[in-house]
Symmetry: C2
Subunit: 167 residues, 2 copies
């Protein structure tokens, strides 16, 4: 496998994997491209390399910046904007975990809490609803804590210890 093959394989794999962490194909591909690019890229560069439209590129770059994993960069004496991705994969994971917690997990936790707090009326169906949503609430809460703390900050130390412990 040569460079170009490897590059394309990586970009398309990352692209289809995107849906997995909740982002669309173009967005994931732009991210992949920036992640392996030693130099910041302009919008033109990205459009050309991925064969996508200007509008698409613009919107998805914005979203990637909202996720906090892609940044604008300005080159001196140039009007054009350039973009880079977060290159440290630990930091990348941290940022993604943080955003997913905020966007998905926390709202869910809130709803589970509300639902599990309805009045117990003695019927089997109510008991079951309360029991299961309570269990899910507890689990989601644990997961949220883990995501925000373990992956959270002083990552490497804990992860390494954990992996050694378990592997």
């Amino acid at each position: 496998m040569n460079y170009d093959e490897a590059k394309n394989k990586f970009i398309s794999t990352w692209g289809s994997l995107g849906t997995l962490w909740g982002i669309n194909k173009a967005m994931a591909q732009i991210h992949a491209l920036l992640l392996i690019s030693p130099e910041p890229l302009s919008m033109e560069d990205i459009m050309e390399q991925l064969q996508i439209s200007r509008g698409n590129t613009s919107m998805n770059l914005r979203q990637l910046m909202d996720w906090g994993i892609v940044f604008k960069e300005n080159k001196m004496g140039e009007r054009k904007e350039y973009f880079t991705s977060e290159k440290d994969v630990q930091e990348l994971a941290r940022q993604i975990a943080k955003e997913r917690s905020r966007r998905e997990l926390q709202p869910t936790i809130k709803i589970l809490k509300d639902v599990s707090n309805i009045d117990e009326d003695g019927t089997a169906k109510t008991k079951e609803l309360i029991k299961q949503t309570k269990a899910l609430h507890e689990m989601a809460d644990t997961l949220d804590t883990l995501m925000n703390r373990v992956i959270g900050q002083d990552h490497n130390w804990i992860t390494k210890a954990l992996v050694k412990l378990i592997k």
Copy 2:
């Protein structure tokens, strides 16, 4: 909030959350319904409660069974098939982690490994591609181990210790 409101809220939340763990709305809603139902439900029951077609119900039940989180049950003297979900949320999480590892993480790890093994040709772009895909490979590998071991089996003990340690 009364029972019906809570139930609907739970089902629709779980439904939209489905996309998050990689399954579609109907599938997630069927799962939610079964999870809080004290009794096994028939296909008719499900169709009626969720207002979805027979075909849709059939296909999605099959997929849930493929995921190993919904089971067929036969009532004596009845021809109809009934369905239940895995009720233990720990076991549910374990099963989902296992399947996601198998379906998504492991294939990705394989590709990252291949891509990161291309020949170093001394150019900056090749260096960067190798460096980043290696880092991702390592991280994906760690994540896979964690998913399969921590959530894996003797769950509660480790999780509790971990949470205590971190919280």
